[in-house]
Amino acid sequence: MKQLLKLIAALPYSLPGKPAPVKDVIAMQQDLKFNGLPTLPEDFVRFLHHVNTLNYDGLFIFGINSRSYFLDILSENLRLDLTQKENILILGYDEFEYLAYCAPHACYQIIDKDTLEVVETYADLTAAMKYLLKADDDEHL
């Protein structure tokens, strides 16, 4: 998680949202459960306590946003209304892919927006975010 936060802090002008308070996270978990969606994984909750919503270079990571449906985990998932919504929770997207949490396998998935095929699978949030932020590509440069 430290690595991920360091990576986000290094992004130029990424404007991360303010950390989500505990009571909002609990309310969100209850809302998700009530709406038949998987609850937030532990490392994503930890992420929300530091960075609540992120928007950088066409990448949008959801959070808890009670002011608008935009980037709000529950509203966005209800809006997207994808199949298997009881197993898959969408946590963000870019122009081509969704970042999703697959509850049955407790892993993060990169899902193609059009075909809904799983492109990549990651055990933790940091690795999935590194893929989306193309951090690996820059490491060698």
Binding site: P12, Y13, S14, L15, G17, K18, P19, P21, V22, K23, V25, I26, Q29, Q30, D31, K33, F34, N35, T39, E42, V45, R46, H49, H50, T53, N55, Y56, D57, G58, F60, G63, N65, S66, R67, S68, Y69, F70, L71, D72, L74, S75, R79, L80, D81, L82, T83, D94, E95, F96, K113, D114, T115, E117, V119, Y131, K134, D136, D137, H140, L141
Partner: protein, 397 residues
């Protein structure tokens, strides 16, 4: 007693995680035992969220025109439709919602096109994506031949680069349509040579292997990969329309500040505050220097990637004429509302409705004409492109 437990968790960063782990299971357990009360609470919360959605849609339909203007009065019809839409949203009837949105947008002069998708192969889609977003660090789906080859100990290059006839590489016909790959044909030959792949085995390589070779080459030689189509488009846009974009951002100050606030970012609305000016300047500077998509915006493909039609003209999908900078919420979201409408069908017989944007539109900031920016591509386009390339390569040197 409860307050005493919660307070320290909220005060320390680490405590929040503990709070989540301890309080959440209790809260969830409690909620599962009280359906009636949860239903009531949740309905209110959900309604509040939908109300926000409604407000966003209302802004979308009515725009930020003054309520007393004739333009507003002429849109009363749309407003009535909006009310109907709200009712449908609250009652959760998705099909009705989409139908109403379509009606509203058509009453605003927005055209829809409905057509069967002409799906492209996963390989074609992959190359389009990499051309747009950049070369991935570790491509997956490598061919068995290439995977086996990677497992073998590295060998000295036995074949010179010129021995590789890329026409024997089946998926190269996809790559060569994109200037970013076509112009680096020699680098691929060098990568093949460095890996020691026998030239007669080129036909065994797939599109993912080629991307791996490119990725490995750039990593090994520590050189920057070519600029992606996304970066090129943003730089192209800002180099031609900086003033128009700046004017849009200044005219849309209240809307952008509100959008940032909705995202949880507080930017001062005070006229003397430098917050908004800094936001505009930082966004434009990053667009110019790095080709970064500005916050709250995204790039929209006018002809969608999944509907590329002509397999021999794949690169046009990522060409500036097919791209449009657009405000993500609500406009880009609205453009893609119909995408998942036909879920459950196979991709081959899926019919998708799309909002049709004009070919010369390069920026979409709202349904009012003054909120959009157009680019005349036909007017000395080649000259502009050459100038841009010269400028970019000159800078890099």
């Amino acid at each position: 007693m409860k307050k005493k437990q919660k307070k320290p968790f909220c005060d320390t960063g680490l405590g929040k995680d503990l709070a989540h782990m301890i309080i959440l299971p209790i809260a969830l357990k409690a909620s599962s035992h009280s359906h009636r009360s949860r239903f009531r609470d949740n309905s209110v919360q959900l309604y509040e969220r939908l109300r926000c959605l409604k407000d966003s849609l209302r802004t979308l339909i009515i725009g930020d025109t003054s309520e007393t203007s004739p333009a507003y009065r002429s849109k009363l019809q749309s407003k009535i439709l909006t009310e109907k839409l709200i009712l449908n949203i609250v009652s959760g009837r998705r099909a009705d919602i989409l139908k109403n949105i379509e009606q509203i947008m058509q009453s605003e002069g927005i055209n829809f096109v409905e057509r069967h998708q002409s799906p492209i192969s996963p390989e074609e889609r992959y190359v389009i994506k990499c051309d747009f977003n950049g070369i991935p660090h570790s491509p997956k789906n490598l061919s068995p031949f290439y995977q086996n080859f990677l497992l073998q100990p590295s060998r000295s290059s036995a074949y010179p680069p010129q021995n590789y006839k890329l026409q024997n590489l089946p998926d190269w016909k996809i790559y060569r349509q994109f200037p970013n790959f076509k112009n680096n044909e020699y680098k691929l030959r060098v990568a093949l040579s460095e890996k020691g792949i026998p030239p007669q085995m080129l036909s065994s390589l797939n599109a993912y292997d080629i991307m791996h070779l490119f990725s490995h080459y750039y990593k090994k030689h520590k050189i920057y990969p070519p600029e992606t189509s996304k970066v090129k488009f943003i730089k192209f846009f800002i180099s031609h329309h900086e003033q128009a974009f700046r004017t849009y951002l200044n005219n849309s100050r209240p809307v952008i500040i509100e959008a940032l606030k909705n995202k949880g970012i507080n930017i001062s609305d005070h006229p003397k505050s430098d917050d908004y000016r800094n936001f505009v300047e930082s966004s434009i500077r990053l667009m110019k220097e790095k080709g970064t998509v500005p916050p709250l915006f995204n790039i929209h493909h006018k002809i969608p990637v999944k509907d590329s039609n002509d397999p021999d003209k794949l690169s046009r999908i990522n060409s500036p004429q097919n791209l449009c900078l657009i405000m993500e919420c609500p406009y880009h979201t609205m453009m893609h509302l119909f995408d998942t409408n036909s879920k459950g069908d196979t991709i081959f017989d899926r019919k998708v409705k799309r909002v049709e944007l004009p070919q010369d539109m390069i920026f979409f900031g709202g349904f009012r004409s003054e909120a959009c920016i157009y680019h005349n591509y036909s007017l000395d386009y080649q000259k502009n492109l050459h100038l841009l390339i010269a400028k970019v390569t000159g800078k890099r040197k």
